[in-house]
C-alpha cells in the first residue's frame, strides 16, 4: 500500500531454542485512521506482532515504520503508542484521574493543560464522574474504558489493543465493542486490535489479518475474508462452514461441476478450472431445508442433530454418510432427529476455495 501509515515489513521474531519462528515474514500495511484486527488461534503470533509494534519485544529481523519513519529500534517509551491490555493494567496505587494523567506527566505537559485533557479523555469514555475513584473500585467494563482513555489521552500515533475485551462478560463485551469503534472513528486513530474472537474482529474492523503459526494467512475486509477465504484454514477459522472435496467433472458458463463422495454432482459458480480436484465451501446459513423453489444443488438426508437457539436452528444432516451443517431461520417447531428432509443451495451460494 502506497499510503501506509503503519507498515510492517518482513517482521520476524525467532526465540532461541525454538525451531519455529513465533512470527515469520509478516507484511502488514495499515492506512491512516484504519481499524485493523489481528485474528487467529492462540499461538498464531498475533500478540507477539502487536508487542513488536509497541516496542515491548524487539524483532529478530524486519522493519516497522510509522508515517515513513523507521521505529524498529526505538524504545517503548519513545514510540508514542497507546496500549490497552487484557488485564487493564491500571496502576492500582493511583486514582482513576492519576492513571489517565500519568502519560501526560511523562510528557511534561503543563498542569492546566493536563487537567483539561484528562477531563476530556474521561468525558470521551463517559466516566468523568469516576476521576477520584480508586482503581480497585472499578468494574471490569469501567476499568477498560479508563485504560482506553489513558492510552488515548497522550494522542498516540497508533492505538494497540491486546485482547481488551476478553476479561469481560458477553453483554459488556458487545457494549464495549461498539464503544471502542465509536471512539476510534471519532478520533480517527489508526488502530491495531488483537483478538481470538472472530465476532469481535468481524464487527469492529475495517480489515482483518488472519494469522496462523506465525504467518499471515489472509488480509481483507471482513465480508471478503468471510465470503471468499483464501484457503481451508481461513474458511474453517472464520465462521462455521461445510467443506466438500471433489473431482472436477466439467464446467460450463462459469459453473463448475464436481463429483463429491456421497453427495453426487455439485454445481458451483467459479472462475478456476485448471485443477483436477477442488474444495467447495458452503456456509450453513446458505443451506436451505426443504426449499420451496428449485435449487442448483438438491440433496436428501436424515436429521442427526438439532439445536434450537431461538433466532436460529442449527441442524446437522447426514447425507449418505456426509455430515452437512445447516441453519434454519424463522423455523417454528424444530426438526425432529431422524426425520428425512430435503436440502439445497444455489450454485452462487457455494464457493471454491482457491488453495
Amino acid at each position: 500500500m502506497e499510503d501506509a501509515y503503519l507498515a510492517l515489513s518482513k517482521l520476524t521474531k525467532t526465540y532461541p531454542n525454538q525451531s519455529r519462528s513465533a512470527v515469520h515474514d509478516v507484511d502488514i500495511d495499515v492506512a491512516r485512521g484504519e481499524f485493523i484486527s489481528l485474528l487467529g488461534p492462540s499461538g498464531c503470533g498475533k500478540t507477539t506482532t502487536l508487542r513488536m509494534i509497541a516496542g515491548l519485544i524487539s524483532p529478530t529481523s524486519g522493519h516497522i515504520r510509522v508515517d515513513g519513519t523507521d521505529i524498529t529500534n526505538r524504545p517503548v517509551h519513545r514510540r508514542d503508542m497507546g496500549l490497552v491490555f487484557q488485564s487493564y493494567a491500571l496502576f492500582p496505587h493511583m486514582s482513576v484521574g492519576e492513571n489517565v494523567d500519568f502519560g501526560l506527566q511523562m510528557r511534561r505537559v503543563a498542569k492546566s493543560d493536563r487537567r483539561r485533557r484528562v477531563a476530556d479523555a474521561l468525558d470521551m469514555v463517559h466516566l468523568a464522574h469516576l476521576a477520584n475513584r480508586r482503581v480497585s473500585q472499578l468494574s471490569g467494563g469501567q476499568a477498560q474504558r479508563i485504560a482506553l482513555a489513558r492510552a488515548l489521552v497522550i494522542e498516540p500515533t497508533v492505538l494497540l489493543l491486546d485482547e481488551p475485551l476478553s476479561n469481560l462478560d458477553a453483554k459488556l463485551r458487545e457494549e464495549l465493542r461498539v464503544e471502542i469503534r465509536r471512539i476510534q472513528q471519532e478520533t480517527g486513530i489508526t488502530t491495531v486490535f488483537v483478538t481470538h474472537d472472530q465476532d469481535e474482529a468481524l464487527a469492529m474492523s475495517d480489515r482483518l489479518v488472519v494469522m496462523s503459526e506465525g504467518r499471515v494467512e489472509q488480509v481483507g475486509e471482513p465480508w471478503a475474508v468471510y465470503e471468499t477465504p483464501k484457503n481451508r484454514f481461513v474458511a474453517d477459522f472464520i465462521g462455521r462452514t461445510n467443506m466438500f472435496d471433489g473431482r472436477v467433472a466439467g464446467r460450463s458458463d462459469g459453473v463448475l461441476r464436481l463429483e463429491a463422495e456421497g453427495l453426487g454432482t455439485l454445481s458451483v459458480r467459479a472462475q478456476q478450472t485448471d485443477r483436477a480436484t477442488a474444495t467447495v465451501m458452503v456456509r450453513p446459513h446458505r443451506v436451505r431445508i426443504d426449499p420451496a423453489e428449485q435449487m442448483a444443488n438438491e440433496l436428501k438426508g436424515r436429521v442427526v442433530q438439532s439445536s434450537y437457539l431461538g433466532d436460529v436452528e442449527s441442524v446437522v444432516i447426514d447425507v449418505n454418510g456426509v455430515r452437512v451443517l445447516a441453519e434454519r431461520t424463522h423455523s417454528g417447531r424444530p426438526l425432529t432427529v431422524g426425520a428425512t428432509v430435503g436440502l439445497g443451495w444455489g450454485d452462487a451460494d457455494a464457493y471454491v476455495i482457491p488453495q
Binding site: 509497541a54 516496542g55 515491548l56 524504545p75 517503548v76 517509551h77 519513545r78 514510540r79 508514542d80 503508542m81 497507546g82 496500549l83 491490555f85 488485564s87 493494567a89 491500571l90 496502576f91 492500582p92 496505587h93 493511583m94 500519568f102 502519560g103 511523562m106 510528557r107 480508586r134 489513558r150 492510552a151 497522550i154 494497540l160
Partner: protein
C-alpha cells in the same frame, strides 16, 4: 451465582475446615500459648536474695525492669541494631528479590534455591562462619591488606560491626522470601503500560515498580526487624560480650543470674513491643496497599 445453590454444604465445609485446623491449632496452643501463659505467670513471681524464686503475684519485676536505666539502654541498643540491620538487609535483598520475582528465566528455580539455601544451615553455623571470615587473619582482612587498602587488620569480630554484618547476611533469605511474597502487585503489564505511556526505566521504577513493591518491602522489613530484635545467637557469638540486646539480657537473667521473674517480665515486655510493631506494620501496610 453457583455458590448460593451450595449453601447447604457450608456447614459441613466449615466442620471440615475446623477438623483440618485442629491439629495445627492444638500444636500451636501447646507449643506457644501454654508456655506464654506460663511465662506471664512467672513474671509475677518474686526473686528474693540473689536468686531464690518465690511464688507471688507481684509487679515487682516489671517495676524493677522499667526503672532500670541499663534495661532502657539495652532496649535502645536493640531497637537501633534492629533498625540498622533491617535497613541494610532490605536494601541488599531488594534487587535480588525483585529480580527473582520478575525473571522468567528457566534458572529461576535454581536461583531461588540459592537465595534461600542459607536457611538450610543453622544460624549458629553461619555465625561461626562469619567469625572465621571476619577474624583478624580471616579472608576479609587478608584480602584488604593484600590489596594494600589497610595496614592493620580491621576489628570486624567481637564487636557490633561483626554482629551487624552477620545478622544482615543471616536475615537476607527471610527478607528475600518475604519481599517476593509481597511483590504480588508488581506486574510486567503495569511496567509495559507505563513504558507505553512514556516512562523510561528509571521513571517506571520510581513511579510504578517501587510504590507497588512497598507492601513487600514492608513485610520484609517487619520480618527482619522482629527476627533481629529477638536474635540471640549472633549477638552472643559475634559480639565478644560487648553487644547487649534484650535477648542476651533475658538469657543472662534466665540462665546465669537465675532471676526468672525478671527474665519473664523482660520477655513479656518484648512481646508487647512486637505487638506494637505488628499494629504499626498493619497500619502502614494498609496505607501503601490502599493507595
Amino acid at each position: 451465582m453457583p455458590t448460593s445453590s451450595r449453601s447447604s454444604e457450608g456447614g459441613t465445609r466449615r466442620g471440615a475446615a475446623a477438623a483440618l485446623l485442629a491439629p495445627g491449632l492444638l500444636a500451636l496452643g501447646v507449643s506457644f500459648l501454654v508456655p506464654l501463659v506460663w511465662l506471664a505467670r512467672m513474671s509475677l513471681n518474686r526473686t528474693v536474695g540473689p536468686a531464690e524464686l518465690q511464688t507471688a503475684v507481684s509487679l515487682r519485676s516489671y517495676i524493677d525492669v522499667l526503672t532500670d536505666d541499663f534495661v532502657w539502654e539495652v532496649a535502645w541498643h536493640t531497637l537501633w541494631l534492629g533498625a540498622l540491620v533491617t535497613v541494610l538487609a532490605v536494601v541488599v535483598s531488594y534487587p535480588i528479590a525483585l529480580f527473582l520475582a520478575r525473571t522468567r528465566s528457566r534458572l529461576r528455580g535454581l536461583l531461588m534455591a540459592l537465595a534461600i539455601a542459607p536457611l538450610l544451615t543453622s544460624s549458629v553455623v553461619r555465625t561461626f562462619g562469619w567469625l572465621i571470615l571476619l577474624s583478624d587473619d580471616g579472608i576479609v582482612n587478608s584480602a584488604l591488606s593484600g590489596l594494600g587498602i589497610i595496614g592493620e587488620p580491621l576489628t570486624l569480630t567481637n564487636n557490633v560491626t561483626g554482629v551487624v554484618i552477620a545478622l544482615v547476611e543471616i536475615m537476607m533469605p527471610y527478607a528475600i522470601l518475604a519481599m517476593i511474597a509481597g511483590f504480588g502487585r508488581v506486574s510486567k503489564d503495569l511496567e509495559d503500560a507505563a513504558g507505553s505511556l512514556g516512562a523510561g526505566r528509571l521513571r517506571c521504577f520510581v513511579r510504578i515498580t517501587f510504590p507497588l513493591s512497598l507492601p513487600g518491602v514492608l513485610t520484609g522489613a517487619l520480618m527482619v526487624f522482629v527476627l533481629t530484635v529477638s536474635a540471640f545467637i549472633t549477638p552472643r557469638l559475634m559480639g565478644g560480650g560487648r553487644v547487649f540486646v534484650i535477648a542476651t539480657e533475658i538469657y543472662d537473667q534466665a540462665t546465669t543470674t537465675l532471676d526468672w521473674p525478671r527474665a519473664s517480665a523482660l520477655s513479656v515486655l518484648l512481646l508487647l513491643l512486637f505487638g506494637v510493631f505488628l499494629v504499626l506494620y498493619q497500619r502502614l501496610f494498609r496505607m501503601v496497599e490502599g493507595r
